[in-house]
Symmetry: C2
């Protein structure tokens, strides 16, 4: 079932006691560069360092008390993993997470530190969904999908409600909103929320080159698989095709998508660190990368970018910053 | 003349078109560490990377049109410099800044990039106030003091109004507020603002060891010079004694002050980068350093920390992060 605006309102009430109400802040630096007004949604400051906690928390609250003891299973390259692990710990549920063995160390360690059990798999060889389904069946646990689930989409959509509230406080009507996109739960959920809140903003997905399934699907009017291939530095954004439920929603609420190169992502990570003073992982910087690369002209307009997540190794960001230092 | 609450309200209206309305965000990580609710005022996101723009902007707006052509002169180790330069550029005024030759490169470059003329001096040998006074007299320019001025204090105090507004939105009564302190314009202004807004929070200055003039003065009940000596890594916090006007206000509105060591400052900078995902310069991390070092127990309480500024070289922060990495 595709979620509606009411589901996002309900999710907001459910997660409010647990999730961080993250700020929207105007960037004087990006205003100067673009000639527009650019606002940043600092979702790197969310619990576990990414928006993923919102969906996981909403989904887990929806599990009836009687089914909680058997726990949850999820598959994730790291941010959904930490979101699910953190929510499970809050509700006293066991969590088992299927993670690629090449996931960034802070994501694996962060997930383990939250008390989750981790099963590693080979990103290129193994079928993570099959592994997760088997483990789920063995334990009688609930599978918490990373994006193709109404509860997850509604949870991620709460970012859009907050953006709408904060834009109103600033007295701003947003014209363009850019969001990182992997399976599409965040971007479609937040577009639904903005629309429901009366915003006329155009909401754009931003994906890595070759993993731009949402962009291609929106262009085709039907779900299309991106070619994939060489791994992107945006380890969080490598879903090759949007979810079924996600696309059912996305096709009605999204403006055309964008794709960015690894070099554009690296430049955005370096810019965030050196200029904005914010540490953002490559996938989390996708929206910023699209803006800096000129995919959208916001001169004289108001735009909001989602910055999420922040779970990169500091050394990796430092390396990118060095590459782009003056 | 010591400023009153009405001056801060007036400053807020004056600077609103130019200054960033910076966010207050709850830190889930610091909540977990302290057992309290810890909110961060992200003044690193202010125009020019520190709160200093607020005071400079308010002060420059107060200069009559007829006196603006001759420009302004300021002395500063870097953050006030950038604040004054940015405000001067906005109002089309020439700015001349007297800066120590050992000021961090991003601060000197940032000031120059804002169109200011820079005169360097030797921090240990020269009298910067005398140099600035002479230049001021030669040009007929207005001297914009870094802290001991009612317009400056009122401008910095606008941070306190915003904290009070945002705390109310969160439904929180703040118990403790910690702020970096050099000459004391920020901490005394924000304490006045919080008090005027009805808050009963205890507001604490945080200074580097040996440059803790405010702490010593509050203890003595009169302005006392700190010993100084070896330079602190907090280049922005090396005023050895609070301003005259500042202390007149501070003695009525501040709770006891804290002092922190260079090692505690470094640890806070590293923690901000690695855990909070925020790049904060050593002086800007003073309040966080005091919290992490246990100077105040916020268990079961609500606290706000000012994080400002963010104008360190990335490599310097990277070095501190390396030192404290697991």
């Amino acid at each position: 079932m595709v979620p509606g605006f009411a589901d996002i309102i309900a999710a907001q009430a459910r997660i409010a006691p647990y999730a961080v109400r993250t700020p929207l802040v105007e960037s004087w630096q990006l205003n100067a560069i673009t000639g527009g007004r650019v606002f940043l949604k600092l979702e790197i400051l969310q619990r576990t360092g990414s928006f993923k906690f919102r969906g996981a928390c909403n989904r887990l609250v929806m599990i009836p008390e009687s089914e909680r003891a058997k726990g949850v299973v999820a598959f994730s390259s790291g941010n959904h993993a930490q979101g699910v692990a953190a929510a499970a710990r809050l509700f006293g549920m066991p969590a088992l997470i299927v993670m690629p063995s090449d996931a960034p160390r802070p994501k694996i360690e962060g997930t383990r530190a939250l008390g989750a059990e981790i099963v590693e798999y080979d990103r290129l060889r193994d079928d993570r969904e099959a592994i997760a389904a088997k483990l789920c069946a063995e334990r009688g646990a609930v599978l918490v999908k990373p994006f193709d689930d109404a509860g997850i989409i509604a949870g991620q959509g709460t970012t859009g409600l907050e953006i709408a509230e904060d834009a109103a406080r600033f007295g701003v009507n947003l014209d363009e909103v850019l969001s990182p996109c992997s399976g599409g739960g965040l971007v479609s959920g937040l577009a639904l929320a903005l629309k429901g809140a009366g915003s006329t903003a155009r909401v754009h997905s931003v994906e890595p080159d070759n993993f731009d399934g949402m962009k291609r699907s929106l262009e085709a009017g039907a779900r299309v698989q991106a070619p994939g291939g060489k791994l992107s530095i945006a380890d969080a954004l490598m879903a090759p095709i949007p979810g079924v439920l996600v696309f059912e929603l996305a096709k009605d609420v999204l403006a055309p998508g964008f794709a960015v190169s690894d070099a554009e992502l690296e430049r955005a990570v370096a810019f965030a660190a050196q200029t904005l003073k914010l540490l953002v992982e490559p996938g989390g910087a996708a929206a910023l990368a699209a803006l800096l690369a000129g995919r959208v002209d916001v001169k004289g307009k108001a735009a909001a970018l989602i910055l999420s997540g922040g779970n990169a190794e500091f050394a990796q960001i430092a390396e990118m910053a060095r590459k782009f230092s003056a």
